[in-house]
Symmetry: C2
Subunit: 146 residues, 2 copies
């Protein structure tokens, strides 16, 4: 999923908060941009060559989350994975392996997404909720675990 103006957009967004777009932060954004799904701190640590200390990585993730560059995903026991925020990647869903916990992105057509939205509205209406967004995850066994 190539995002042409990614660095520019992120830098601009960070500048708003007076936050610097440093080498370490660029590396995380890069790693997430090329990942096939949400990644945990440990996974990013591997992806990135393991020289950055974990504590710095966690700090970077916190900063990026606060600036709304990345979003947390809680789909596995006791660990948080991150992905680029939807204003960057566009709205999407996840395929989650019930065996190993791996998570993969699913992009859906606008047409289908409209149907999802309509359903969420319908359900929320009946329960008198005020939805701001939704999460749809499809569970199954991934290639490796099948």
């Amino acid at each position: 999923m190539p995002i042409p103006s990614l660095d520019r957009d992120v830098e601009q967004r960070l500048r708003r908060d007076d936050v610097r777009y440093t080498r370490g932060r660029r590396a995380v954004v890069q790693a997430l941009a090329t990942a096939a799904g949400p990644r945990s701190a440990a996974e990013l640590h591997q992806d990135m060559g393991s020289d950055v200390p974990l504590s710095s990585l966690y700090r970077t993730l916190t900063v990026l989350e606060e600036a709304n560059i990345i979003s947390p995903h809680f789909g596995a026991r006791g660990l948080t994975r991150y992905e680029l925020a939807e204003w960057i990647t566009g709205h999407h869903h996840h395929y989650v392996c019930i065996e190993c916990g791996a998570v993969e992105d699913i992009d859906v057509s606008e047409e289908i997404e409209h149907k999802v939205d309509a359903l969420v509205e319908e359900i929320s209406g009946m329960a008198s909720f005020n939805p701001t967004s939704h999460v749809l995850e499809i569970e199954g066994r991934c290639r490796r675990c099948r």
Copy 2:
């Protein structure tokens, strides 16, 4: 959500695995049966009066999960919440507060659930996945946080 034959059903299910349905286990099942949504070990500990040691509670949760009496829910940073398995409560969805992380059950009509299933099938088909189930969570701010 009153479940008339709950204790009987659970006991029977546990006996299959040669697992005893002890006082502590009954208490957890009871607490979950009356909860409005998934509960974490710490939350259950409070719900139950706090005299059971946490380690026992965790062990109970492990046993009940292995016997498929309860199911884990990962919707919050670094903590697992549990709810009664869907063969007991019926399939349902969740309303998740984006502010405080509280989770509440949403029961939907069969009619709507059919639509959800159809959508999941449609999406999975396009991605050549083999779905065994799905999770739909509606996000918003709960009464308290609004």
